[in-house]
Symmetry: C2
């Protein structure tokens, strides 16, 4: 057991104690303390651009971007101004504001495969609606997903099957990402009943090294859908507008029939979207999809402004350039120290593990030292780059990563947090 | 066919045309034009307190409260101030803000049956999570719901079964609201496998006259749950904090094991909650429930401020008093004119229909004339009262309703909207 000295966090600890009595198991979900690492901060005090401060005042360069939503960093002025303007008119009204039409028009213009848009609040809303649309469009039931892929936390897709009943997953079948034969075999098993195939832009399963899509796999899945009439559903919730200014398979030249979006599309405001091809329009008009806040204007205004900024500043290229420099810097530092690493994923969504580190002992040590040195990232989930990250932030990040790699070299073994 | 002259709405019409090409079927969901009435405004231009203006500048006293969310009216100063303060710190962060703990503590203090809280974004998130928790807690599968009750728009509960597959509803069974025998019979059919029973505070199904709960029904359902170990789930999404300052069955003395909340709890900001009894805490800690925006602080700060205002101003009593005056005024005006009406529901959530008006011809005429006279309500869905409604608003409302009842007397028959 390696002991490292972490920043003291008395306020965080006190909040965790209060949380334990009124929130089941303390904080739950993907941000829960037990999915973090020893000594990680649980509560956020404030944030600005690409930085945040925990409740005890420790500052971090943010490489998680709130698990994706912050494309432009916290409170980007253009986004805040657009939201303030819309909010001064109406946010949650008896019907939508004109901004809903403007955003749908904009997304249809930006995303190649899209002929129409529908909006919701959660990524799970969007992925679930895609399944419903595929079933409505085809009058079939079976949906294929990649085993282990994350498409949300509703009963049909949650990675923890507690409270899930057989019906929730009765009409799902699975394939192996990037393995076209496995897709064809699953399709054959369900021949005549295949409604849709859900794909992630790349394999970004938490806890596994990431895998970029094999273009032949992407083409093969598209061809299978064309041949069978099943709909190709791209789950762009996590990757959307980090890999391309358009759907994330546009660089591959593959157009899905439906794409699911959320996280970054409104730079942190709660919004999700389904974008669809013309052929799915009739099905989309026939289902009942709604929610109390799905027509609220603030998040739509935020999304329009986010697209403005991405376009004006070529934000996707900027994120990729920053991410590439981070990537190269990490590889160089690991090489200098002779540390073996697995750096996988996309330049804007990198993920670092250590070989044979099955219990994440080294990953947790690495993350803990990074946090102590002012860099927030995650040992079991891909990170996220935003356009708010500066050259100085890159220096801070690489210095922290250097310290963390030194710690891995010096004291491999499970880390135990020790408040300073 | 009766012709009535409505306010011209050229901007609304132009937006509908644009919407038709980028939103499937135009605007979808519960706010869709085809669920409104001839001549109803589709798009909202701005709103303030208990008033809103359509995009053509026509003003309305708001009796729909954005279908529930506005408990205090649009942009209540105390709520706006709390949101601004939280937003200046952090909204969507890498983890929750302290405000999440504060809100959970507050709700546990306010709602009798609650020992803990979980937060989400949609009412459907909350109701679905209740099903998952009941199944996790009991290790059983069957859930009873009242036939025709609305509990959200996910595949297991959407009222339009397009795109829904058998598995989505494989473990549901139904009873008739206020009919305890029907509950007992359904429970008997699924004896040994009953995980939970979902009840609405009152029967508020769209398109049906509303029905307050029979106390014996409520007691009987509670006793059945106690006897079988199934969980009693109160869907307080629509009624929450309009019927009681606490769960809506507190006035009946009945404590559910779980309650689902959304709509009004953050006065228009997107928030949902599940509140649960101590015995369900372990199950709640064992499921994986999460969403990208579920930990965002703005809506939680809005909720705390909403509770402050409700408490300080005895907002629930104020809404009930205003609603009671509206109710009495409607009955008096109908009596004066000799018009038969069915006015049902709760003082804060009234619903008006006309006897034998099966195609809503009279209901639509009534709603259309109310809208022309500056009052926005709905012919096929209960209305909602907010604390922002004033004495003047009551005068406007009752004058509009008088005109609308006159129209019903003068020209019964299906209304066709005619732009003025």
């Amino acid at each position: 057991v390696s002991l490292i000295t972490l920043n003291p966090r008395p306020l965080d600890r006190a909040l965790r104690e209060r949380a334990a009595s009124v929130l089941p198991g303390g904080v739950y979900g993907h941000v829960a303390a037990d999915l973090l690492w020893p000594g990680a901060p649980q509560f956020v005090g404030r944030a600005e651009g690409a930085h945040f401060w925990d409740v005890d005042g420790n500052e971090y360069v943010d490489l998680m971007c709130s698990w994706g939503p912050l494309l432009l960093g916290h409170r980007h002025p253009a986004v805040e101004e657009a939201v303030a303007r819309q909010h001064g008119l109406v946010d949650c009204g008896n019907g939508p504001s004109p901004v809903m039409v403007e955003l749908a028009e904009r997304l249809v213009g930006v995303v190649d495969h899209a002929a129409w848009a529908m909006f919701a609040k959660n990524g799970s809303d969007a992925t679930t609606l895609c399944l419903t649309l595929a079933r409505a469009h085809t009058s079939r039931t079976t949906i294929l997903t990649a085993g282990g892929a994350y498409h949300g936390a509703l009963p049909w897709c949650t990675p923890v099957a507690c409270g899930v009943v057989p019906g929730d997953r009765a009409h799902l079948a699975h394939y192996v990402y990037n393995d076209l034969d496995s897709v064809l075999a699953a399709a054959e098993t369900h021949a005549g009943d295949l409604a849709g195939i859900v794909v992630s832009p790349f394999k970004h399963d938490a806890g596994f090294d990431q895998e970029l899509p094999d273009p032949a796999f992407a083409r093969g899945v598209r061809e299978l859908c064309d041949r069978t009439g099943a709909l190709l559903i791209l789950d762009d919730v996590r990757c959307g507008f980090r890999i391309a200014y358009g759907s994330s398979w546009e660089p591959l030249g593959i157009a899905p029939d439906l794409s699911a979006w959320s996280k970054g599309i409104a730079n942190g405001y709660a919004l999700a979207a389904v974008l669809g091809a013309e052929r799915v329009r009739a099905a989309a008009a026939s289902v009942f999809a709604t929610g109390s806040f799905w027509f609220s204007g603030d998040a739509m205004a935020a999304s329009l402004a986010t697209l403005d900024v991405l376009e004006r500043e070529d934000g996707v290229a900027a994120m990729q350039a920053w991410g590439r420099r981070l990537w190269d810097g990490i590889e160089a530092q690991a090489r200098e120290r002779g540390v073996a690493i697995n750096l996988t994923g996309h330049a804007t969504m990198p993920y670092l593990t250590f070989p044979d580190d099955d219990d994440y002992a080294l990953g947790e040590l690495f993350a803990a030292v990074c946090a102590r040195e002012g860099l927030f990232l995650h040992p079991r989930h891909n990170w996220f780059v935003s356009t708010a990250l500066s050259d100085t932030d890159l220096d801070v990040a690489l210095r922290a990563i250097g310290c963390a790699l030194d710690a891995v070299v010096a004291a491999p073994g499970r880390v135990a947090a020790l408040d300073g």
